[in-house]
Symmetry: C2
């Protein structure tokens, strides 16, 4: 882990929900407004919808005096080699990009975080690479899991029962988590549910959740799984990118 010198004394990690400006909370608006500088990552030509959404949220919610808004190119994670090592190096590179983009004037810097800064987001770990460590303030935001269950009007848990949230990578590697009654899968590069026996599960899936182009599918996994894989492929080609997540439960849970 490399350390990058910074003049920022306070870092605001502001959850903004899933791209619907109506997801933004009053707390997030106040925090954003209080910043000296807002950092907006550019993820490359196929993902600039996301930079556009962050800019449009700033346009909608900010009032004068508007903080300085600075865009920067998000470094890319290398695809080869050990996954965790590649992530650690990537976080080093992002920390450097933050400090370069923030410059030497801004004391209170804000980042607009997709969903919630505490859920499968690396900003808290990247912030540990800044020196001296700024005070970090986290403002929670609506996650894609919440947008998924809201859109399907389902509870995330069965009655008084636990649930597990995992990644596509881990579902594919480990299969159904031992004893789990509900599993929510995030960050799936596509089709990790194929490792499950489709006749045994039901799935509720959503992509572009909370956005105008939201897509929903649900049903028995053996029927809905192949349909989701096809819909996902088409949508990804049409938009150039996709963000999706899903919830799976055993079809006939053990009593």
């Amino acid at each position: 882990m490399a350390l990058w010198p910074t003049t920022m004394r306070e870092l605001l990690l502001i959850g903004i929900g899933t791209g619907n400006p109506d997801h933004v909370t009053g707390e997030a608006i106040k925090a954003l407004q209080s910043a000296d500088l807002v950092l907006i990552p550019r993820k490359g030509p196929n993902k600039d919808d996301l930079a556009d959404l962050r800019r449009s949220i700033c346009d909608v919610v900010l009032t004068d005096p508007v903080p300085q808004i600075v865009e920067f190119d998000l470094p890319k994670r290398r695809a080869e080699g050990d996954y965790i090592d590649a992530v650690e190096d990537w976080h080093d590179a992002i920390a450097r990009a933050w400090t370069q983009a923030a410059g030497t004037e801004a004391a209170r810097v804000a980042l607009l975080i997709w969903g919630d800064p505490s859920l499968y987001d690396s900003s808290l770990r990247i912030a540990e690479r800044l020196s001296p460590t700024p005070k970090v303030r986290v403002i929670p935001g609506i996650t894609s899991v919440q947008a998924l269950t809201a859109a399907h009007a389902i509870p995330v848990n069965t009655l008084a029962a636990p649930f597990t949230v995992t990644t596509g990578r881990r579902l594919r590697a480990d299969g159904w988590p031992e004893g789990a009654e509900t599993v929510v899968v995030m960050l799936d590069a596509g089709g990790a549910y194929e490792v499950l026996n489709g006749a045994d599960y039901d799935i509720w899936w959503g992509a572009y959740l909370g956005m105008d182009n939201q897509i929903l599918e649900a049903g028995p996994l053996d029927e809905a799984g192949p349909r989701i894989s096809a819909v996902r492929k088409t949508a990804r080609e049409a938009h150039g990118w996709i963000m999706d997540c899903y919830l799976i439960r055993p079809r006939n849970p053990a009593p």
Copy 2:
């Protein structure tokens, strides 16, 4: 499961976060404003802080014309007998209380749901008892889990790893979920972490999260657990009620 006749055609389950009006999203405000009638449960003399908070959120966010606001006494769940049976009967009683309080005029009825309507909340299951079934619309809200991780500025997951959300009842009954890397515990009537070997875990705890009287504690479970139990007892006696949740991780997770 009993069915209760109703004239409501649409039921809005609106997540409001954990009592901080700044948690409320733009989507929640618009949904609330669009209702004909807002139902506010009274939970009895020791929990009327919560009815007060719902009323104060209505006062802060609603503009003219303000929907009709109707309070009703929330039925109590019986403490004896089988837990799941008691919950089913309780949900029947709440469905009846909703229909009685909503009357026969309102077509679009709103309920302000603590946290998020999809997370350990029974409103979706209670709504199934209305006849004919109204269209249910869910508006997500910030949960106490998100308020907890934001207040401690920690991620809910370790790097690219799964986490499990469970109840105090289940942690006490089943112990540490097999293979779990992080466990979040909700709805604990108190001290379910006592079933764990305190030397093996770290805990991050919070009560009245997001509210003015928020309390946070964290540390090695063997040191922090007894401290939390004492703080919780004192705070519960002082306020007449408590809502809290916590996150636990193995202190030296297996590599």
